[in-house]
């Protein structure tokens, strides 16, 4: 295991797994959003590591990571609005509230 690229990718996979755990185990929408942010960070780390340590175009990799950050910001904005709407409608931000109509 003396390969730096594989070590960085393993750290990225760990971030993905932590985010998946939070996404499934958390009860509130905000806790699930924290899990999604962890997963997106793992994606950015994986992209930058792959671009910096292989013959790939490094500019493309770093710009890809910046685009992931922009998407994360947009997604956090939307989730904040959805959390506000759910909170107004159901009284709290628990994730099982909006599923009351599923039958």
């Amino acid at each position: 295991m003396n390969n730096p690229l594989v070590l960085y990718q393993v750290v990225a996979v760990m971030l993905l797994c932590l985010g998946l755990y939070a996404l499934v185990a958390r009860r509130t929408l905000i806790g699930m959003l924290i899990g999604v942010e962890l997963m997106l960070n793992g994606a950015g780390l994986s992209i930058v590591a792959a671009a910096q340590l292989t013959p790939m175009d490094a500019v493309l990799g770093q710009l890809g990571a910046l685009l992931v950050m922009g998407l994360a910001a947009a997604e956090a904005t939307l989730v904040l609005a959805i959390v506000l709407v759910v909170n107004k409608r159901f009284g709290d931000a628990a994730a099982d509230g909006p599923s009351e109509l599923k039958g």
Binding site: M1, N3, P4, L5, V6, Q9, V10, V11, V13, M14, L15, L16, C17, L18, L20, Y21, V24, A25, R26, R27, T28, I30, L33, I34, G35, E37, L38, N41, G44, L45, V48, Q52, L53, T54, A58, V59, Q62, L63, A65, L66, L67, M69, G70, L71, A72, A73, A74, E75, A76, L78, V79, L80, A81, I82, L84, V85, D92, A93, A94, A95
Partner: protein, 171 residues
């Protein structure tokens, strides 16, 4: 050779920070503590970016994630009063943990052995890219992505305003 060991030590240190912060973000009962764990993990990822010689991305990580996204999530926590008496207080429960463990074990079980066996070999030292080259890339071959991300941000913000807008029509 000495710098090599220093780099390995820094990698281990930042990985430890990322894992500790991520563990706190995943396991804390209070959402504010989970947010603090997320901030620690984000700083650790910024350190890993610095180790990869992607210093502009590390700066943007601190500026966008730690500066903006975290404040946004803190606003969500405050506006929903989720800190003290929210639904996270009693923890995930046995059923939640039972569902969550296979949810992360399956991707980890697939990805990590694949990485260990078929992992691509990389350079031992990363490449250096100046911010000027990044700017030239944004205005040159990757202009479309640059414009698209701005449109996506505008649409997301307009949608957020419309969603959260309180109707004042008397009925």
């Amino acid at each position: 050779m000495n710098e090599m060991y220093l780099g390995q030590f820094a990698f281990a240190f930042y990985t430890l920070i990322v894992l500790a912060g991520g563990g706190l973000a995943v396991s804390a009962a209070s959402l504010v503590r989970a947010m603090l764990g997320l901030v620690v993990a984000l700083f650790g990822v910024a350190g890993l970016y610095l180790l990869l010689l992607a210093d502009f991305v590390a700066l943007m990580q601190i500026l966008i994630y730690v500066g903006a996204v975290t404040v946004l999530i803190f606003f969500a926590i405050m506006l929903t009063r989720a800190a003290a008496d929210g639904g996270e207080a009693e923890g995930p429960g046995a059923g939640g943990i039972l569902r969550a463990i296979p949810a992360f074990l399956v991707p980890a079980g697939i990805l990590v052995p694949l990485l260990a066996v078929y992992g691509a070999t990389g350079f031992p030292t990363p490449k250096n890219v100046s911010p000027a080259q990044l700017g030239a890339g944004l205005l040159g071959p990757y202009t479309l992505a640059f414009e698209l991300i701005s449109v996506v941000l505008l649409a997301a913000m307009a949608g957020a305003v419309i969603l959260a807008f309180e109707k004042r029509e008397p009925r």
